[in-house]
């Protein structure tokens, strides 16, 4: 809790909250807070930066836009939506957070998130770690071949790439092929043993989307569309995200 009462200055100005309300179905219920505090009592981010979900919403209602935009708290809320889940009025506080992120100039957003988004935009793989189609194909085939050579029972291990018409299109977080490729093997074994009709794609395979976390609306949509196109180009029926 803050030590001093909040002072509201001068004449009424347009509120950041009104912009967000305009974007959401039913205005995100942003005007319906009963101040019960269920959101804040069960939020792991409560107390960070002297902020909590109820306080954030209250500040938005009071038009304290400058203070909200200056706060780093929107980058400490993971938008996990537990606050909505427990809220009797189903108020969409995470969308308020997302749009606070989006309201900050891009070059003032956390460098790690912006950098991961930018990296993902460099290749059709959408890899935030910059893995190319060649890197990906090489690692998968290299690791699969080693399993075939060394692990009895998996001499015929299949790790399909760009197999048209497969039932499942499986994607993979970049961290695995780039930093711990052996972690992919158990997944392949399960799919082989189950007889699943699946494939990886050389494009759009990276599961992560840091442009979403960056609140870069244009580019997170671009990433999603690149991934969807990869699935549709192969004519796969189900898109499986391992995250």
């Amino acid at each position: 809790m803050s030590d001093e009462a909040i002072k509201i200055g001068g004449k009424k100005k347009s509120r950041f909250m009104d912009t967000v309300k305009g974007l959401l179905p039913e205005g995100g219920n942003l005007d319906m807070c009963l101040t019960c505090g269920a959101c804040s009592s069960g939020c792991p981010a409560t107390g960070l930066e002297d902020m909590d979900p109820r306080k954030l919403l209250r500040m938005a209602s009071l038009g304290m836009d400058d203070e909200l935009l200056a706060s780093n708290w929107p980058w400490m809320c993971t938008m996990c939506t537990r606050c909505i889940y427990v809220c009797p009025m189903k108020i969409n506080i995470p969308q308020l957070v997302f749009n606070l992120r989006a309201s900050r100039p891009r070059d003032q957003r956390p460098k790690g998130i912006v950098g991961s988004c930018d990296m993902a935009l460099r290749n059709d793989t959408c890899s935030a770690m910059g893995a190319t189609e060649e890197d990906w194909r090489f690692v998968v085939e290299d690791v699969a071949e080693e399993v075939r050579q060394t692990q009895p029972g998996f001499e015929k291990l299949l790790v399909p790439m760009d197999k048209k018409g497969s039932e499942f299109f499986l994607n993979q977080n970049s961290r695995e092929p780039v930093t711990e490729p052996d972690e992919m093997i158990p997944l392949w074994k399960i799919l082989n043993t189950a007889g699943a009709d699946w494939t990886y794609g050389s494009k759009g395979w990276a599961a992560e989307n840091y442009c979403l976390f960056c609140a870069d609306n244009e580019n997170w949509e671009k990433i999603v569309r690149t991934k969807v196109k990869a699935v549709e180009d192969l004519g796969c029926k189900v898109w499986l995200n391992t995250e």
Partner: protein, 149 residues
Amino acid sequence: MNSDWNKDLKVKFTVQDPCQLVRKSFGDPVALDLRYVVKKVVGEENFVDMAPNMSNNYCCGGGGGFLQSGLPDARRQYGKVKFDQIMSTGADYAITPCHNCHAQIHDLKEHFDGNYHTVHLWTLICLSMGMLGENERVYLGPELQGVGL
């Protein structure tokens, strides 16, 4: 698959409900599916649930880009809720079916000096089926290194 390998070992497991998979996508039915698989793999008597759980579970703090945000102190303070939740189950292992959860919960254990291991579900499925290779056990503790090899 079955849990015979854990009949005598009695290694205890808990499971993290990933926000994206459970609360934000498929709800409690997928959380129940997850528990069905976990119990088959480790044995029902060796599964300890967190509280709260399923759709009401706490986020671990690895989501929303937090891992890449350059705010490690805040991220770990956030994650302390999850760390305490896992520790109070007394489980030897936290199963994390989400990649971000895995990275965060593993980091929390290192940072707060916890005594649990953090594993992907696929690792345990293969372990229980006797098909987990030697190089696929990085996240397993010493008591499981030789199981089913």
